[in-house]
Subunit: 405 residues, 2 copies
């Protein structure tokens, strides 16, 4: 048995937050039915794509799901989608969408068909206006403090961090609502705005308080860790290593591994600082980095690693995506996180399962990215109990489509 | 009633992932008991701090929790902590830690005291070795593609994205395990490695497949959105705006709002591209950005906003943290996301509640960041049913401490 065996969630969504929420739940064993229009959702061809145009992004964010393809402009198609969303079953009746929850996806109308429906609606902004990760991130301050000190233009992140966090927040919300329904019998509508995810984090991490209580505007610190000691260094073999010391213990191991203790003592005296205090380590960050630079420059990655690991210092090697895939055993089938999976129309790729290990439940092997409409017939038959004749008629009328490309 | 009314979770953790997981569940109404050593956890003084040394970061990540302070080096203190972790109750018996799950926190030993305990153990790497957000991020490729094209050194992100996502994944895992326990009666140990969170996302977003199937190493694209059109532009009043067009609809609204349709048509002919295709928009990104640059340079933010909003184009304004707090109504009590909360020892700050709105449950008002040991007596009395005499004796022996500073 897997941890979410039996749970069924329907999805009408695109891009990252919604699909990532349900992909994560599918990776825990839930049955996830993604419903798309006949031509595919807005993200069906999102880059990166293969030479034949199949989206690697879509495959990754929709792996392990069932893909159902329906003409969502036709009233009969909408009726079918609503029937799947509100199909009976103790463990069914969960729905996630980032489309406007109006018209044919109005919550009250859906609720009339299933009184205990749980529906999560992901919005851009709380008022329903559009926002994407890129247009949220620029507004919440991080690009203005990313990159080398002195830089004048903002640096966008490449990781769609807000989308991912929004998706996982929605997954948490769905399970919280399902718990509530199990105990009290009631479903409900959840609303989650992408911009609120970012705004809440800015508050959670103390950035708002830093402005309001300290009157302090955070500056750019390049690759320095704020408020502690951590920086990157070039090695003899022209690679880069990040070291981090966010606790006194980590600082001691780093200091010991690199043999800078005496030099640090001299620095403490000349600068009147106490490096056992994280604030002082941050204040002296440039001086400390200068002490460490020659140590790394004189060593290859292998040599530095040997000394750092001997003291259990905390460090990491910078890797490109190719280097990660080619060199890092954590990113290989040597780790139970990964398996080689054949994705239809794409081929075999190293594919992750859920990063959560449930020690008393079976793991869910990583799924394949479905082809649009691959599970249309299966879902119509199993969830709606339509006969093969009824399904054939829907095909003939162009209301549904099976696997077409 | 709040969505997680009655659920009780105990925490022995520090920094971000564990504390963020439980803070997020406390914001949904769970009772969260954070147990710290007498001197506070490793993160109790984490920057940013007030002039008096109180951590704004700690307050943000632990708001709404109960703080219990125990001498965790003393056998009697450890016994108390284990008793709180394994206290009876249908909705209790959930525990999260990023400490090694060995010795006094060994799962099997804890399970012997409560057979259906659910314990989530957050690790650095899957093998138990140390990793932090900074040392994971460098390894998974993103710093090497962040920043302006041509840059040779990696750019670290400032947002601890992996920590946050790991925390929310742990929250999802805890609720999934609690669901399983409710249905089947069994608890279990969950293991979640920070580096696995990042590795899985690299797979989920198609970066691994891009290396393996396309043999392509992602490059730096500065503030361009990969595979679509989006970039930042300077306005007449020296502010910056990010525009994003990840769908054809968004491209049309942007094109219409800025009046570049004719110039785009000419570009399509001269370059033999079709801008209705997202891949072609990405290929022509520099040319398209050049077309838009004078439009923004000739307009103030207000003027540009007026035109962009009229067409419902997708855009955002770059803001520093101060500008966000001072200027953006989304980051104010005008939004129900925020309330002004008085944090003991810090003062009043704009504080977020959960970004999830559950329409059929009461919202949980944002909590205050506790002072270390603020709830020691309350928890010993309510959870362990200790008498005031017993609690006083523990105080006298130095095994527990109340609010001290």
């Amino acid at each position: 048995m897997t941890i979410l065996s039996g749970l069924r969630i329907t999805e009408c969504a695109a891009f990252i937050a919604g699909p990532y929420a349900t992909m994560s739940l599918a990776a825990l064993g839930a049955e996830v039915i993604r419903i798309d229009p006949l031509e595919g959702g807005l993200d069906y061809h999102r880059w990166p794509v293969t030479d034949s145009g199949r989206s690697l992004y879509w495959a990754g964010l929709n792996k392990g799901k069932k893909s159902v393809s329906i003409d969502l402009r036709a009233p009969e198609g909408r009726e079918l989608a609503r029937a799947i969303i509100t199909a009976p079953g103790e463990h069914a009746g969960l729905f996630i969408t980032n489309f406007p929850a109006t018209g044919w996806l109005d919550f009250e109308k859906l609720k009339a068909r299933r009184h205990d429906l749980i529906m999560a609606n992901i919005l851009g902004n709380r008022d329903g206006s559009t926002a994407l990760d890129y247009t949220v991130n620029c507004a919440v301050g991080f690009p203005s403090v990313t990159g080398a000190p002195g830089g004048e233009t903002p640096t966008n992140h490449v990781l769609p961090a807000w989308d991912l966090l929004c998706g996982m927040t929605a997954a948490t919300g769905l399970l919280a609502a399902e718990r509530h329904r199990r105990i009290h019998g009631a479903g409900q509508l959840l609303k989650i705005a992408l911009s609120d995810i970012a705004l809440a984090v800015v508050g959670d991490l103390g950035f708002i308080a830093e402005v309001q209580r300290n009157g302090h505007e955070r500056e750019r610190h390049g690759n320095h860790i704020f408020g502690a000691f951590g920086h990157d260094f070039e090695t003899k073999d022209q690679r880069r290593i990040m070291v981090a010391a966010v606790s006194l213990g980590q600082w001691k191991t780093l200091s010991k591994a690199t043999g800078i203790a005496e030099a640090v003592k001299a620095l403490e005296q000349s600068e009147n600082l106490d490096m056992s205090r994280e604030g002082d380590r941050f204040a002296a960050r440039e001086s400390l980095a200068r002490l460490l630079t020659p140590w790394f420059a004189a060593r290859t990655v292998a040599e530095a690693a040997s000394s750092l690991d001997a003291e259990k210092a905390c460090w990491g090697l910078y890797q490109s995506f190719s280097q990660l895939v080619q060199d890092d055993p954590r990113c290989s089938t040597a780790s139970t996180l990964f398996a080689n999976v054949d994705h239809p129309g794409i081929g075999t790729t190293l594919t992750p399962r859920s990063p959560i290990d449930f020690t008393a439940c079976e793991p869910v092997p990583p799924g394949a990215g479905p082809i649009l409409g691959q599970h249309t017939e299966e879902v119509l038959a199993n969830v709606l109990q339509l006969s093969s004749g009824q399904i054939a008629a829907l095909h003939d009328k162009g209301i549904v489509a099976g696997q077409t490309r």
